[in-house]
Symmetry: C2
Subunit: 110 residues, 2 copies
C-alpha cells in the first residue's frame, strides 16, 4: 500500500511538473500569451515557491526538486507574458493599436 | 518549527489552489482561451486528480480538499478551452476563417 501511495505521489508530481512544458512550447511557437492570466501565473509561482520552502523545511528532496523544476517552467511562461505586456504598452505609447483588441464580454452560449 | 512548516504548506496549498481563479475570470470576461495550452491543462488536471488520490491513500484531508477544489477550477478552464476549439472547428467546417489566425513563428528578440 505504501508502494502504491508513493507511486501515485511520484506520478502526480511528474504530471504537475511536466504539464507546463506544452504551454512554454505554445508561447514560444506562437509568440502569444495574451489569453494567459498574469495573476494566475504570479500566484501559482508564489505557491510553488512556498512548496519548495515546505520541502526544504520538511527535508523532502522530492518536493524540493519537483517544485523547483515547476518554478523554472512557470518563470519561463511569465517571461513570455511580461514581454507581451511590455510590447503592448510600447505600441500604445506610440499611439498604435495594441497587439490584442480590448476584451469583449463573453458570448453566453448557455 | 513544525508550526512554521505547517503554515508554509497551508499557504502554498492556498496559493496553488486559488491561482486558477483569475484565469477562469479572464476566460469568462474575454470569452477567449486560444493562447492556453490544452495539453497543459489536461496533464495538470491529471496530476491534480492523482494528488487527490494520493491524499485519499494517505488519509490526508488537506491534500484531498485543496486538490479537489483545484481540479474543479481546472475543469472550468478546460470547458472554456474545449468550447473555443469546438467553435473554431465549426467555423472551419462552414468555410469561414477560424477565431484565431494560424500561429506565426515567435519574433526572436534575443
Amino acid at each position: 500500500m505504501v508502494h502504491l501511495t508513493t507511486a501515485v505521489g511520484l506520478l502526480a508530481a511528474l504530471c504537475t511538473t511536466v504539464s507546463y512544458i506544452p504551454q512554454m512550447k505554445k508561447c514560444w511557437q506562437t509568440g502569444r500569451a495574451g489569453d494567459l492570466s498574469l495573476k494566475m501565473y504570479l500566484i501559482l509561482a508564489t505557491g510553488i515557491a512556498l512548496w519548495v520552502m515546505y520541502g526544504v523545511l520538511q527535508g523532502d528532496a522530492v518536493i524540493v526538486l519537483a517544485n523547483s523544476v515547476s518554478l523554472a517552467f512557470l518563470a519561463t511562461i511569465l517571461v513570455f507574458k511580461l514581454r507581451e505586456i511590455a510590447a503592448d504598452r510600447a505600441k500604445l505609447r506610440q499611439g498604435a493599436t495594441p497587439l490584442r483588441p480590448p476584451a469583449e464580454p463573453a458570448q453566453s452560449s448557455s
